[in-house]
């Protein structure tokens, strides 16, 4: 349930106001391998299964077949130099089932740009080959300086 409430109607009060609950859903890469029609979200702790279904159906117009949720225990860690143990927030995950013939592929948000790296490698390869050719040319003339040539 949202912690913001829809204001109770008073006589004369405005109707059909836009009401924004403090809900959020974050699409995450699935922790465990999932069938293609199941999408994993992390969501605000207050959201119920019905809230998640409404959120997706009403705002994004997505047909939702089923919603399952779980609350993952937040990790514990030691504070450096202090030594005591603290615990991070728990996270609520929602597994949303779409109709079985639908497919969702998690988008590749940050594609790695290999162009610069490839160029660099090509130059290094070229110079290596040049040096090999130089050695091949000079193998009959040991101890001769490189500039001494026709």
């Amino acid at each position: 349930m949202s912690t913001r409430w829809y204001p109770i109607y008073q006589r004369g009060g405005p109707q059909l106001r836009v009401f924004l609950p403090n809900f959020w859903l974050k699409l995450v890469r699935p922790t465990h391998e999932q069938p293609p029609n199941i999408v994993q979200f992390s969501c605000s702790m207050q959201m119920t299964k019905y809230d998640i279904r409404n959120y997706l159906e009403k705002i994004y117009n997505i047909k939702v077949v089923d919603v399952r949720t779980r609350i993952a225990l937040g990790p514990t860690r030691r504070v450096p130099a202090k030594g005591y143990v603290v615990k991070d927030e728990d996270i609520k995950y929602a597994y949303v089932t779409l109709p079985k013939d639908e497919k969702f592929v998690f988008p590749d948000l940050f594609p790695v740009d290999n162009k610069a790296k490839e160029e660099e490698e090509a130059t290094i390869k070229q110079s290596k080959e040049g040096f090999k050719q130089f050695l091949e040319k000079n193998k009959e003339r040991p101890n001769m300086p490189g500039w001494f040539s026709i």
């Binding site: 922790t31 465990h32 391998e33 999932q34 069938p35 029609n37 199941i38 077949v65 089923d66 399952r68 514990t76 030691r78 030594g83 143990v85 615990k87 597994y95 089932t97 109709p99 079985k100």
Partner: protein, 542 residues
């Protein structure tokens, strides 16, 4: 305390010393041709495989049905972590998973397999039709009077289905048993309890196993290798009929190996489609009767379908698949439990096919299934090596009648009743030249065949306890949250005395079934023996 009591391995080590050895009095050490032991592949995988084979052979060698079931349970005192499959809870889109774990090829058709075309039931139809119509009208009237007011639609549908299948079965068996003597000898069970267990392989490992494998240098390359899962089916048949002879097979065993019988491959963890693994359960195979019953082959079973009302996924096509899932699972679960009573287990495959007929109905809507069980071994390497497939023939849902008007049934469909009558007209046969119980003892097939009364009693108690799956009286072992945080994840209490199992790298879940004290015999009941003897009753673990 003596050194031997502290360390049981000491005795084994002592045997290695020369001073404890004696001279071998063996003269004929030499043979005419040299005898060599077989050359074995000593790679860890092969060694493990051989050890598994040995275990399977051990289970096969056990003489009686009940002892075999106890033997299956031996590795786990607290039971196996089981993936629970319920008949009346069908998550969304679970048909591919069920076909995968039961290795079932589904043939969906308007008609039953060709074998049923030759059965003539027109005379029987005329015989029973009016009675069945009357019974339906009476039951519907009673249903309207008593159940409509209660509001629980699922329960109402189930009750009507139960009442109608009971009545229809009663009418058909009494009328048809004149011509078909196998119905006279058939045993009818109401609300029989069906539980089934098997191992299923081929699915990718869960995250915790992957993490474990990543941590072991010798298992890193096997990180994504499939793991086995314990499947546990719990169901119940409204009415089930069983006979002393098995039904005829529909396809031959060579046809069952045909690659045309495709089975969908489900690669994910069953938990991703809503099948939970939240229980530790003992292995229990219960087909609705106890071992030793003479009518031990399933003939026909009626199943409820009220639970389909409570599904809210809003997908009509998927709802049809859900009925197929129920039909497949009800048939496989029942036949697997029956196969276990013939001495086959999930480690020792069936040597002949088992066949059953299943009806899912609420009295008005009917789905018919015929199931042939060709294999029950579907795990580890057998998942890829085993070529046999189980086959399920199913019909789409059909209505027996459209409704009631003026106290008369409207649109009564004779074809549906004919299909049901054909199930009854399928006569079980003697399987010539087939040993039905090849893996059971010659004289002793059930524990009731044992002469020793004490042994019989002990095995009976142990077997019934295991299949009851009652929880242990003592609370289960658990690592408390504070221990996980302050002792395992962060070593903040290293000065504490080490007392708990995880501090000694002991896993209580690996406790074997026989790791417990036998039953104590009070001194007054002991025979005349020295004080320290005869305190504990004898145990008969297989």
């Amino acid at each position: 305390m003596s050194a031997l009591r502290l360390n049981k391995n000491l005795l084994k080590r002592c045997k290695k010393f020369k001073c404890f050895s004696t001279a071998v009095l063996q003269e004929d050490e030499y043979t005419a041709t040299p005898q060599y032991p077989p050359i074995l592949d000593m790679s860890p995988e092969k060694v493990r495989e051989r050890r598994k084979e040995e275990e399977y052979e051990g289970i096969k060698a056990v003489k009686t049905v009940e002892e075999k079931q106890i033997k299956l349970n031996m590795p786990k005192y607290y039971g196996f972590k089981s993936y629970m499959l319920y008949e009346d809870y069908i998550p969304y889109n679970s048909l591919p998973l069920i076909q995968h774990v039961t290795r079932t090829h589904l043939i969906k058709n308007e008609n039953l397999p060709n074998f049923y075309n030759d059965l003539d039931v027109t005379s029987a139809l005329n015989d029973v039709k009016s009675d069945i119509e009357e019974a339906i009208l009476i039951e519907l009237a009673r249903h309207r009077q008593t159940l409509d007011l209660q509001g629980d639609k699922v329960e109402a549908d189930n009750r009507l289905g139960f009442a109608l299948s009971k009545q229809i079965n009663r009418i058909i068996t009494t009328r048809m048993s004149r011509h078909l003597p196998h119905l006279k000898g058939a045993q009818v069970d109401l609300n029989s309890r069906i539980k089934s267990f098997w191992l299923a392989g081929g699915m990718s490992p869960p995250e915790n196993i992957k993490r474990y494998r990543r941590g072991c240098s010798w298992q890193k390359d096997k990180e994504n290798e499939p793991t086995n899962r314990v499947m546990n089916y719990i169901g119940s048949a409204n009415v089930s009929l069983r006979t002393d002879l098995p039904l005829k097979h529909i396809i031959s065993s060579s046809d069952a190996e045909s690659p045309d019988l495709s089975v969908p491959f489900f690669e994910f963890d069953p938990r991703t489609v809503g099948t939970v693994a939240n229980q530790h359960r003992h292995i229990a195979n219960v087909p609705g009767f106890w071992p030793g019953d003479s009518r031990e082959f399933g003939f026909l079973s009626y199943h409820k379908r009220g639970h389909l009302i409570s599904r809210h996924y809003g997908d009509a096509n998927e709802l049809k698949e859900a009925v197929d899932r129920q039909g497949i699972l009800a048939s496989f679960g029942w036949l697997n439990a029956q196969a276990n009573f013939q001495g086959f287990t999930t480690f020792n495959d069936v040597t002949y096919p088992f066949v059953t007929q299943t009806v899912v109905t609420n009295g008005q809507v009917w789905s018919f299934y015929v199931y042939q069980l060709n294999t029950i071994v579907n795990h580890s390497k057998f998942f890829t090596e085993n070529a046999k497939r189980n086959v399920c023939w199913g019909t789409p849902e059909v209505k027996l009648f459209e409704g009631v008007e003026n106290d008369k049934l409207v649109g009564f469909n004779d074809e549906v009743l004919k299909m049901l009558l054909k199930f009854y007209a399928n006569v079980p046969e003697v399987k010539l030249g087939v040993n039905l119980k090849p893996f059971l003892g010659k004289e002793e097939k059930f524990i009731a065949d044992y002469e020793d009364g004490d042994k019989r009693e002990w095995l009976e108690r142990e077997y019934k306890f295991l299949v009851s799956n009652r929880p242990r009286a003592k609370l289960e072992y658990e690592i408390y949250a504070w221990e996980k945080i302050y002792k395992i994840d962060h070593q903040t209490r290293f000065m504490d005395q080490k007392k708990r199992p995880f501090e000694f790298k002991i896993k209580p879940s690996n406790r074997r079934l026989d790791e417990r004290l036998p039953r104590y015999i009070p001194r007054a009941l002991r025979p005349e023996l020295p004080r320290h003897k005869g305190r504990y009753a004898k145990e008969y673990f297989p």
